[in-house]
Subunit: 360 residues, 2 copies
């Protein structure tokens, strides 16, 4: 996108808003906010989530509460959105919390930890368990009020130029993989690489990296990764149900009327549901197209999954020893996860297993 065009198009009002101290808005007052996304405009699943949200806020307020959405790099870089919200450079952001794993591992509970919860279970933890309460307590340290806004479901494990048949094939593998997953895979010999979406294709083509993961069929097809690596692995054990988040600056949030607070919350929830629905509805045809293009699907070998699970549990124990914020949330999260898997193995799993083994 042409940056000048963007500035001309969206708005002086949005830009001015940043410099204005938040005020207590009377009910129905006109408000303009800016949202900084960590995602590029081209991904209508991820960036699209923030657009659905903003459109719904506008609709619910009869056009009086508007939020302009800005792709990664327009206002702040993809990974700069937390700082921008914390410092109130923008009122809100749409991101994946595990990007901030380097600041504090605890962020990841608001998105995904390796061998964590699937999408339904994450929703249950956030909305009817202690998830929202505990993550909000944590985010208060960053002047952030968080809202779930989208989930990708269980992601694919990535594109590999060569097959991985066992643990030995991971040694020295240069793999573009996000923070937390990379941390676990590193202990199995992988050399994790951090690259933004736009650089993955070229690096894989040139052989600078041997493997890369992004999300799943629908988004991965857009990046064209299948053209340079034919082996498509599943599952991404580090992203069993990666949740996206809306970050709202606490002062900006407190300045809203109760009605506008409710609008924000409900619009986020609406977009949350739509994003998962988009992924689920659109992944199958993308997968079919990938397979038609010669992509080979492989399940990650069990010894790799088992070793990664063991390493991750040890790492969580270590984190609980040294990071009290992690410890507090992990205690609740891991009990919840145990109970969820106890329950899901019965009706849900047996129904799904049966359906997936039928000719439909």
């Amino acid at each position: 996108m042409d940056r000048r065009k963007f500035i001309a198009g969206t708005g002086l009002a949005g830009i001015l808003a940043t410099g204005t101290a938040p005020v207590v808005h009377a009910q129905g007052a006109t408000i303009r906010w800016r949202l900084a996304s960590s995602f590029p405009k081209s991904l209508e699943t991820l960036f699209g989530g923030s657009e659905i949200f903003a459109a719904k806020v506008k609709e619910l307020s009869s056009g009086k509460f508007t939020i302009s959405t800005h792709a990664a790099g327009e206002l702040v870089p993809a990974f700069g959105v937390l700082d921008a919200v914390q410092q109130e450079t923008v009122e809100c952001a749409h991101t994946a919390a595990y990007y901030f794993f380097g600041k504090d591992e605890t962020f990841a509970f608001d998105c995904a930890i390796p061998f964590g919860l699937n999408c339904r279970q994450q929703n249950a933890w956030m909305f009817d368990g202690n998830g929202l309460k505990l993550t909000r307590e944590f985010y208060a340290n960053y002047n952030v009020v968080n809202f779930p806004l989208g989930n990708s479901g269980a992601q694919m494990g990535g594109w590999l130029r060569k097959e991985v048949k066992g643990l030995e094939d991971l040694k020295g593998l240069k793999f573009r993989v996000g923070g937390f997953g990379g941390k676990i895979l590193e202990q199995l010999g992988v050399v994790p690489q951090n690259l933004p979406a736009g650089e993955i294709y070229q690096s894989l083509e040139k052989g600078t990296i041997d493997a890369a993961e992004w999300i799943g069929p629908y988004d991965d097809l857009k990046l064209g990764l299948y053209k340079v690596a034919k082996n498509y692995y599943y599952p991404a054990f580090w992203e069993g149900g990666a949740q996206l988040s809306l970050y709202v600056n606490s002062k900006a949030y407190q300045s809203l009327s109760n009605e506008y607070k409710a609008i924000l919350d409900t619009a986020a929830n609406y977009a949350h549901t739509q994003v998962m629905a988009r992924y689920d509805a659109r992944n199958p045809s993308a997968l079919r197209e990938l397979v038609a293009n010669g992509v080979r699907l492989h399940r990650l070998p069990k010894p790799v999954m088992d070793a990664a699970f063991k390493v991750s549990q040890e790492y969580y124990a270590e984190l609980s020893n040294k990071n009290p914020r992690w410890k507090k949330i992990y205690a609740d999260f891991s009990n919840f996860r145990r109970d969820q898997n106890l329950w899901f193995r019965f009706s849900e799993m047996s129904f799904d297993n049966f359906m997936q083994s039928q000719k439909l």
Copy 2:
């Protein structure tokens, strides 16, 4: 509940509203609606869904749009809510669409058909596939605008006094099971029975029936069914993800301002997410309590599942021949279902299978 107390408490306004012709409300106008639920107040998952919805509508409209919620039997009987909305006796209702399977089998797509979609897949079909569009087209015949409002997930298959080890044990089994599931089970020799929630326990205790299904651990525990039947089967192949619906009378809906229409839609969506989260979060401890009380969990034998699957596919083909409304939606639904199961078997299933086999 004391009926007189209810009438005194909730409202002349609500009662008067019924007699008033709908008008085009100016934005922000004061509106009072009544919602008739098909569920009893005691089930805070099902009836609770309508309460979450009504509270959210009120909050989003700063108290100007209020909807009073009425349990089954208060205004109309549990299964009378469709007629009540169609005739505008009430403006809206909260129900499970398959209750109206007897009027037209097509209703069931808005809830669950045997061997249909799981909760995530149903959401994908409704929100990003053609589900909402197609079901709305169908409901127009009944003066209804529908909105998804809750899902139970894959239900448990029911409580049996004696074990079912194979198809032969189904012959003559008097089983309290809802319309569509009963239709399929009948062809395997079961004698399906239709009983409201309040009569199940006694009938099972007396031996008037041999088996009964309701929903899942959380709700079933409340009904106390484990005290009179110890064998708890899974899955309910007829309810892999039973969706609940908000029915709104079309004229009442059209009378709303765009803002209030958006409020209705978004509040329903909010409650939709919360209901599934409640079930998922609360089922595990209920299951544990049931097992502690001597309940034995059994998977439905594969020959039973296979035979039921075969019978259901034949029945769907037969329906497509004789019911054009069914045919139109089933064509879309069954393609969608095939694609969903193609995709879910990879990342989602392998992640879940792995997690469920770990000591957590």
